[in-house]
Point group: C2
Chain length 408, copies 2
């Protein structure tokens, strides 16, 4: 007998029919003798509907009240799912974040979980009940309703699994696992049986939007065994996200090829090479609330250096305007930029122990005549910036180069 936390996202509980399906799936696990805690999101579209209502009242709604409103989406789902479970003879009880209670700080709309009281849940589990918890929400020390921010239900699931020391946290979504790359670009893309937390973090932040990144960090920190599964398939083991040592298989060098086409790059040329310039440039960008992704500064020459970074494509024009002012302040030579670029990354913990991965990657791209515009590396990933037109070609070439289309 195991204790399993299952999290179902908005599309999995989008209507009464699907909620009944989730109930059947939960019942199946319970019939196998497992204890089950279910975490659910709002029915898909509901949270957006509530936010739209709030925006009709106020262009920037009061955050406490916005949380009061938005938390109702999940509250509806827990009630409906518990009804559905009881309807098929499975004892169940629903809990809001406050009823659990999931104690958070008071940063409304993006609260952080401080602690979870397992008392109520444990009592129900021991009594043979399925516990159904509203994801995405908690309550602060004063009893105010808080929410964890978009996608926070994944984090709720992992946090509950950590608090209950669950044997596994299963995240049900509309894909059946994590793939070596996007199957829409590479039809041969293969579902991974396992991936490490670090790889998952690099994959997620690079655009493979399967799991909320905070939940993966959380799971890594608290050693929660995390599994991504499809709620629309009855079979399949999904992808297990785990610590490196637990991956019981021949370790691949590269686990996946991630990519992001929504990028733009900006360069400040001829920046006087002295301490503090990185802060002066990026401080101005951050002040304008623009997220920066890659940052590259190469060695200088003639007492000047070139400074490049990438931003979301939507922020390109705004960032360019800021750089023009910074150029004058710093006495730099020129601002250049390109918003028709993409980023392609090879991710894998295996590269730590296998030298030559970078050169294999660069050779494969060169053989196809693809020019690399920028390079950035971390411990377990190599990212290149390319002209946007090469995106699909580069992903396919790299997927094949590292043997990702072959069975393990």
């Amino acid at each position: 007998m195991a204790l399993i936390v299952q999290k179902y996202g908005g599309t999995s509980v989008a209507n009464p029919e699907r909620i009944k399906n989730v109930a059947q799936r939960v019942a199946k696990f319970r019939a196998q003798g497992h204890q089950v805690v279910v975490v659910v999101s709002a029915m898909s579209g509901e949270t957006n509907k509530l936010i739209a209502l709030a925006k009709e009242i106020s262009p920037s709604p009061d955050p406490r009240e916005l949380d009061q409103v938005c938390a109702t989406g999940e509250q509806v789902t827990i009630g409906l799912l518990s009804m559905a479970l009881k309807e098929i003879g499975v004892p169940a009880r629903s809990y809001t974040g406050g009823q659990v209670k999931v104690l958070t700080d008071s940063v409304f709309t993006k609260a952080r979980i401080l602690s979870i009281d397992e008392g109520n849940m444990r009592r129900d589990l021991d009594a043979g009940r399925v516990v159904v918890v509203a994801g995405f929400q908690g309550v602060d020390a004063d009893g105010n309703v808080t929410t964890l921010g978009r996608g926070g239900s994944d984090t709720s699931g992992v946090a509950l699994a950590a608090a209950l020391k669950a044997d596994e946290c299963q995240i049900y979504t509309d894909v059946d696992g994590v793939y070596t790359t996007d199957p829409r670009v590479v039809p041969e893309a293969r579902k991974l049986d396992a991936i490490t937390f670090e790889e998952m973090l690099e994959m997620a932040s690079l655009g493979s939007k399967v799991l909320q990144i905070r939940s993966v960090e959380f799971a890594g920190k608290y050693k929660v065994k995390l599994r991504v599964l499809s709620s629309f398939q009855d079979e399949g083991e999904g992808t297990l996200i785990t610590v490196e040592e637990d991956r019981n298989m021949e370790q691949p060098i590269i686990s996946g090829i991630a990519f992001n086409r929504d990028e733009a790059k900006l360069t400040l040329l001829g920046v006087p090479d002295k301490p503090g310039i990185a802060y002066q440039i990026l401080g101005a960008i951050a002040d304008a609330n623009i997220d920066v992704d890659m940052i590259i500064q190469n060695v200088g020459h003639d007492d000047t250096t070139d400074f490049s970074f990438t931003v979301n494509r939507g922020d390109f024009v705004k960032a360019q305007g800021i750089l023009e002012k910074v150029k004058v302040e710093l006495g730099a030579r020129q601002v250049t930029g390109d918003h028709k670029i993409c980023k392609v990354s090879a991710v894998g913990v295996g590269m730590r122990s296998h030298p030559g991965v970078a050169s294999r990657m660069f050779k494969a791209l060169a053989d196809e005549g693809i020019n690399i515009r920028m390079i950035s590396t971390s411990e377990i990933k190599i990212s290149v910036v390319l002209d946007e037109k090469y995106l699909e070609l580069a992903v396919r070439v790299l997927h094949r180069t590292f043997g990702l289309d072959q069975p393990v």
Copy 2:
């Protein structure tokens, strides 16, 4: 400076525009120096939508989970109204029933309020904030969300007013007060400036659906000054519902003419006249969950008696079937019935001190050739059952007979 509890129903908060209007009205009272606690219902239609969702999951949804789901309707409204208040510069804070806390028993879907903690509300009021409370809901001793049943928001408003010893509880609705009768039947119907609790109870149960009857009982019990007002008009004092002694005006004999066209009558003829027959007849009807309104048993003769009662027209056929069985069991002679009847009542505390009201009523009806089928009286009302076709005529005649079309 007064402490006022205002309750706004579903049509008053049906959409963001109306919620903004409510915020303006609240702001006006606050600007006059009053402390204001606002109780709101779900936006109109929302509760029905939630119940429909639940019914798709289960034909008879688990009551605890149904309350968990339905309570979200009011939670959305309190958040939106608080946002709207802050948007126009009025400090406000929303509270669910559990946050207040409104402690109830654990009878889900029709819980009764046990106590109200005024601490949080008082602190906010003292800090100059408007307190916005979700009507219709509370929390039991175990922290389960409960609801008070349909129309329970009125009860919430009155209970909060009682707990806070508010100077007045204002119920905003889509009518501007309580009328001498339905203006759709009698265009000369006049708004009453004041009515006693007892009269209001008789009027409400007789079909003038302005206030939930439980809230009137509650207000009477705790001596809460209750006022019904329109949320769609800026002027007007509405109707004050008060104890008899407080009514500062010449007391009318009759305050209003109530009526109900949704009735059917059933009679068991030739029932052996012995102890226990009333119970044997009505017990069988109650067991079938049929509400009985009027009950009439006249003196018997030849050791038998006739027993009549009225039910909702929708229950007529079912009740008839039950009576046929009871007839055999009791050895009664015959079951008769009529589902084309109506009930018309004259209500007024003044009849206690004015003899002859009944005979004036019967004469007025006789003068129009209206045959009375049944009569039932209480301390402050006289009800007659008539053929349905006479309803409008009877109401108009009685309204004029008792001078209700004349200014006080």
